[in-house]
């Protein structure tokens, strides 16, 4: 969102059920969606963790998922690249299309899917290898580079995109774990970028970071948006407000409200949304 003036940020409100067209002659053409999710339910055994969530995620946009603990936001984001698969007894119902492709179709390889839809976690988790190896690993196993020279190029480009190269260019062969927390998180982002994803999922990416490291990640998110679709789960409403174009508020497994972030934080429609963002929930 960084290149948009504040005034111009009145996007089409994507409603929880169906997108509403802009009224009037100045309506922008509909933006393409990266994900189109319809009536997504998640069951853990008999227990339903997500009650039929329909949400479109705009291409190149930053979408923030917010809500109290247990609201389903993490469950939902994990559906987007099938991170729930390994959980025993977990079952996903409904349709999740990535560029029209059903991510849950039997012929979809979860490993390929996770290259297209990368993920960054709460705690930075670099491999116990060098900075260089951390970034080169993905392109190598996905066959995206054939030579050391090509790999060097991918590593540098990915580190630059993650706004980390200048800080680590003389430390490429030191362990990734020797970096500061904020640098480690940007290394994890570089690692995700190295396999040329379309989408990057971030699950509380800054909760272990201090405000300066957090601001650097937030600036990076701004820079990546446009070129990448970003979905971020965050406990910090302020962070959702700062980084996202669209915000979706979850509560007790329901998607309560979704819309342009500035609308959600100035004039939300649902009283539960207003209660949550203003600190009124019991």
């Amino acid at each position: 969102m960084r290149n948009m003036s504040v005034v111009d940020r009145t996007r089409t409100g994507v409603s929880a059920t169906s997108p509403e067209p802009d009224s009037g002659a100045t309506a922008a053409p509909p933006k393409p969606n990266a994900f189109e999710c319809k009536r997504v339910e998640v069951y853990y055994g008999q227990k339903r963790g997500l009650n039929g969530v329909s949400l479109d995620i705009g291409k190149g946009e930053v979408t923030a998922l917010i809500g109290p603990s247990g609201c389903g936001k993490s469950t939902f984001i994990r559906c987007l690249n099938r991170m729930n698969d390994p959980i025993p007894g977990c079952r996903v119902v409904g349709s999740i299309l990535l560029d029209g492709m059903d991510v849950n179709a039997p012929d979809v390889d979860p490993v390929e899917l996770r290259a297209r839809v990368g993920m960054v976690f709460q705690k930075p988790n670099p491999f116990p290898k060098s900075v260089w190896e951390n970034v080169a690993y993905g392109p190598r196993i996905h066959g995206l580079a054939n030579s050391k020279a090509e790999l060097d190029e991918v590593v540098e480009r990915s580190l630059r995109r993650a706004a980390l190269f200048d800080e680590v260019k003389d430390r490429l062969h030191e362990p990734g774990t020797s970096l500061s927390g904020g640098q480690q998180q940007r290394l994890c982002i570089a690692r995700a970028l190295a396999v040329d994803p379309e989408v990057i999922l971030m699950d509380e990416p800054c909760s272990a970071l201090d405000p300066i490291a957090t601001a650097k990640i937030e600036e990076l998110i701004d820079e990546l948006s446009g070129n990448y679709t970003i979905v971020i789960v965050t406990h910090s409403m302020q962070q959702a407000a700062r980084v996202s174009d669209m915000t979706a508020f979850f509560h007790l497994g329901d998607l309560v409200e979704t819309g342009p972030t500035d609308t959600i934080f100035t004039t939300p429609r649902d009283e539960r949304t207003e209660g949550y963002i203003t600190g009124r929930f019991g």
Binding site: P268, T273, T278, R280
Partner: protein
Amino acid sequence: MAQHIVKAFDEQLNSLDAKIAEMGGLAESMLADACDALSKRDAELAAEVVTGDRKLDQLEEEVNDIAMRLLALRQPTAGDLRAVLAALKISSDLERAGDLAKNVAKRAITIAKAPPVTPLIGIVNMGALVQGRIKTAIDAFVARDAKLAMDVWSSDEEVDQLHTSLFRELLTYMMEDPRNITPCAHLLFVAKNIERIGDHITNVAERIVFLVRGKLPERERHKEDDSSYTEVRPFKKEN
């Protein structure tokens, strides 16, 4: 809306509301006293209004101060943020309303020195009308009643019409007798000031609607009175 989990936040927001209500009451009574002083030629009461304006200025600063601290310390959003912004805007309109009432009072002092030549009933009626609008606007603010605020918002035209006819009337008096010119010139401003207090109350109503509904009133308001375009010619033409 429910209470905040953090009770101090509610107390601070309530303190903003209380200051606004206090400012509204003060502006209302300043206008009433200024009109009273005008019609009773009571320079002493007028002087009280002039000094009383300081309290309103001080309250506005307090509102600015509380609002700044709330924004810095509580990061309000949604309805809470709109409440803080409304308080900032409304307090500045009420402060200006008080300023204008003070100016009415100042001119009442000057007018009291001139012979009582003109009937003041039109001005006093206009004052009462605007005074009622201040009261209703503050009621609407305290009750977060957008419908009531819309009533206030729509009721400005009557004041504008009164003002335009007063303008015409005062010019006629001035033409009748040059001795009327000084008091009537001041009365022109008195009438204009009251009309402008009405405009500020219209602004207040607008902010209340925004506070409650999250958007401004929609239809174009017929805002300006016509007095700026009014011409009056002397009875006895010399050419």
